[in-house]
């Protein structure tokens, strides 16, 4: 299946600074995302009025909120994919379909939040069960037992993985340390200038066993946006295009309950990866770097396994020994990821992949980066996988 390969490109990126407060007067999630949106549109060499489709992130603003501020009088298409942290990748799939079918020409995908200064995830998931699929089940069957936040529910799977396959704390730590090492090379990263060793990792306090503080992503204020158009239109724009080779989304089953799955390790990526790689016509070995949605360290190991970068159960040893660090065989989260750059909903993973594929990643540039993978991971294990190529 190669139907949508080479049909669409990311042609513009924008990002705000990533910070941890204070909340500027008058600012909100929409104003922050509009800043990133305007930057992305300008980066593409377009005007705000050229945008004719908007695919907003779940629960952080409607397409209309963006359109009325950007002065878009004829918005041809809008949609939001309710896949949590996999929403940006799912929106890219939507965008590729829209521009390759002629439904829209220039698609804006924004996402960002005051995730540190505003309401925290731990408050949102409990207060609004409509934000995520499975929120109602969580309210009725998880919350009464004090299982209220993502590090707690994902630790169930991490513990199972450790007892089933011998995955060790040092393997989780290898993901955290690699992210932190990448962040030292990234001026935008919140953890730049704050290096971390394995000993630091192992000494960090437990949050929800087996997750320590340093297994958890960095709640942050920040927004990103990118612009997608057809491969034909991309040729006439300012930036060297980044082409979508493969794109797919997937969900675990059942998607709305994390504890009753016949196969507890199966996630959306298990289903989506074969589709994405088949569309791209390549395999994991041909990937130069990967930006993997990393709310917690374990999710990096799990997604690498389920995407076929290594066999299930071998993810721990796979990430150890520097393979995913700067200069490694498969650099992962070259910006520092949600763990050490900032939790910007995985939107920052797309920005980083585009920078790498443009050859514009500065000190942390992966040499001769030609093909990169970006993943999203959300709710109780939803996934989106994008395979991107320079030019």
């Amino acid at each position: 299946m190669t139907g949508l390969r080479d049909r669409a490109c990311i042609v513009g990126i924008g990002q705000t600074p990533y910070t941890r407060g204070p909340l500027p007067p008058g600012a909100n999630n929409l104003t922050l995302q509009l800043q990133a949106a305007v930057a992305a549109i300008a980066d593409a060499g377009l005007g705000n009025h050229d945008i004719d489709a908007i695919l907003p992130f779940v629960s952080l603003g409607n397409a209309e909120d963006f359109a009325v501020n950007l002065g878009i009088e004829d918005l041809r298409y809008q949609a939001t994919s309710h896949l949590g942290g996999a929403c940006p990748g799912a929106s890219l799939l939507n965008a590729v379909m829209a521009v390759s079918s002629g439904i829209a020409n220039y698609v804006l995908i924004p996402g960002g939040w005051y995730g540190f200064s505003g309401r925290r995830v731990r408050e949102v998931v409990v207060a609004d069960t409509t934000v995520m699929s499975g929120g109602v089940n969580a309210r009725d069957f998880y919350f009464p037992y004090g299982l209220t936040v993502p590090p707690q529910w994902f630790s169930f799977t991490a513990r199972l993985h450790m007892s089933e396959f011998g995955t060790r704390p040092e393997h989780l730590g290898a993901v955290a340390v690699a992210a932190r090492r990448h962040a030292q090379l990234n001026p935008a990263a919140l953890m730049r200038g704050r290096p971390m060793t394995m000993a630091d990792y192992l000494a960090s306090p437990m949050i929800a066993e087996p997750f320590r503080v340093f297994d958890c992503s960095l709640e942050a204020d920040g927004a990103c946006a990118f612009v997608v158009t057809s491969a034909e239109r991309a040729r006439d724009l300012r930036q060297k295009p980044v082409t979508v080779l493969g794109i797919a989304q997937g969900q675990p089953y059942p998607a709305d309950d994390i504890v009753t799955r016949a196969d507890p390790f199966r996630i959306g990526a298990t289903n989506a990866a074969p589709r994405a790689f088949a569309m791209a016509g390549i395999g994991p070995r041909e990937v130069d770097f990967a930006e993997i949605y990393d709310p917690f360290t374990f999710q990096v190991i799990q997604q690498l396994e389920e995407m076929g970068f290594c066999a299930r159960g071998e993810g721990g040893p796979f990430v150890a020994g520097g393979r995913i660090e700067p200069g490694g065989e498969l650099p992962v989260n070259t910006h520092g990821g949600l763990l050490s750059e900032a939790h910007v909903l995985g939107m920052n993973h797309f920005i980083e992949a585009v920078l790498q594929l443009r050859g514009a990643a500065g000190e942390r540039q992966v040499p001769d980066a030609e093909i990169g993978v970006v993943t999203g991971f959300g709710d109780f294990g939803d996934s989106a996988i994008a395979i991107l190529r320079n030019g």
Binding site: N137, G146, P151
Partner: protein, 144 residues
Amino acid sequence: MDPGYDKPLPLLTGMTQALTGEFYRWCRAGELRFQRCTSCGRFRHVPRPMCPACGSWESEWTRSTGRGRVVTWTVVTRPMHPAFTAVPYAPVVIELDEGVRVVSTITDCPPAELQRGLRVRVVFDAVTEAVTLPGFERDTEQTE
């Protein structure tokens, strides 16, 4: 029963909550029951209007043995919710002998003594007038 009970509770009323309400009404009566498809006989939880396996809309609330085993757990050591400040505590996943799994708690087992496969049996905790939560305790009568 604690009149000042401030922990989150399931929603038992409203158009979408009929099945959840029924699950907890059985708990309030001291019985752990799960939906069982009348057509294909499969148990299911969380409650759903249709059988995902065979498509039947018919089910009956069938009494569970209340016995099962520990599948996995976490030990919460940093409070993340204003009503759950007494750490550590350990939410567990229990697989009942009928095959369904639930998130719950074990009332008589310190977190450090939890282990995979630990046999447990249901106990009920009437936390409010309306809500009784199923929990579990070590099943000392039963040997594997």
